[in-house]
Amino acid sequence: MADNLIRMENIRKSYGKVQALRGVDFRVNRGEIVGLLGDNGAGKSTLIKVLSGAVAATSGEIFVNGEQAVIRNTTDAINYSIETIYQDSALVTQLSIARNLFLGREPLKGSRFFNRLDREKMDAVARELLQKVGIMKNIPTNTPIGSLSGGERQAVAIARAMYFDSDLIILDEPTNNLGVAETQGVLQFVRNARDSGHSCIFIAHNIHHVFQVVDRIVVLRRGEVAADDIDPKTTSIEAVERIITGMD
């Protein structure tokens, strides 16, 4: 119990008559990568949106570090150290890597009324972070995000979550539209994040990607938990597919 970083209990969410979540219990332990799987409409996106503050649950409770948490919007979630990385939407493409990393929490120098960005610090930290997250290429930190590949963008978003010590990093389809090499890169970024103490929720359509990186798999089906303790090391992909489609 004490190892629970996040515990969601009996989460329900309905859109009019449609019940997207029908009483879901979900937990993430410290230093663990949880894979969240399910068919389209199973409720994985809704569950993640509830946790990241994008939508409010109809009922249910969320506990962070064992204490009840009120998450009404994305800022609340970030204050609880929960960082969500959506494909493309988390970064400002016109701004540089360094400026994106520090957006909203810019380091300043100079006197209080005449302060300016501490660009040396932003630059140094950005360079260090890109290395830590595992980008091998030497990319200048003043490169605009718009000039980066999809995998590199994911890396920047993950690096930001790591730097600001997010306890939980939620990755929503981080390997969508990526090539084989780039996908392997992103999976490695996720492993690096776990190894430096961050928990992750990993959502992907591609079961193979999930199997390569996660410690535990949770399957949702029609708004309910179909399985929540699958060990990818001892379970076959086919077995998980059967649980997802409900043909077990």
Binding site: R116, L117, L148
Partner: protein, 328 residues
Amino acid sequence: MDSLQPLRRLIARPEAGPFALLILLIIVFTSINPKFISFLNISNTLAFTVELGLIALAMTLLMTSGEFDLSVGSVFGFSAVVMWTLFNSGLAPLPLAFVAALSLAALIGLSSGLLVTQLKIPSFLVTLGMLLLVRGTALFITDGFPQRTWDAAGHPLAVILVGDFWIGPLRVYMSLFWFVLAAIVLGYVLTRTKAGNWIQASGGNPNAARARGVKVDRTKIALFMLSSVFAAFAGIISSIRTSAANPNSGTGYELEVIAMVVIGGTALMGGRGTIIGTVIGVLILRMMRNGIIMVGVPGLAYNIFIGAIILGMMALHSWLDRRHQEAA
């Protein structure tokens, strides 16, 4: 290859195209009529340049944040009318009337900003409404007649705003000093400060910015107020320089100002802005207006050239953008 890198980066900057055009214009106009770079002509061109230029500087920040303001031309005329009406009727001494006019302009900007950010009405519609509202008020309170301003002669405020002095043979108006100061301060804010980072992020990806705790709405409201106050300041300077506060003055300025900003390389849809580019854009348009008359092209043809320059610059910026993305 590596020795070419700094040069390449310079050419890839959004200001490079406009700057080349500016140099080209100076060369062409001067070779046809050498008087183009005479001190008298430079001084005359600069005097009027800075009044539109002040508005363009503030509009650059507003457009970088993803909004624009069509009411600046109306505020330009309205504020001068307010100040001189207050002063002429004996309701307020000149400095107080000046502050009152600027405060009223700030209030207009605040209203536009609140309507855009809180009711989510596009800035095109909000500021179009504000354009008519403000212009209509200026016409109504003056019955359409210009307000007299000649009492200002020699007043310290008039000297601070539009006094002139000579640098050698060049006559320079104080308003040029205000323009240069504003360009330096706003350029610094946009590129070196946290506020600048927020302005660019608000225009580039407001949802991502908001998720990071950036106060997008507050940033945009402040910039609506800034551009309104700058328009008022420019209108007051103009009224003292020309000795007339005409309720109709500033008509059509909003489009000329937006043209100056986009020619300089600032994106109409936000996210990317450049103060240096705007200064170049301001100079290009003013030099065109002055130059084509000096080389003997009929003044009525002015808009043909401006239209062509806007289209040409937009094509260039879009081509550079696309090439940039393909390279990545």
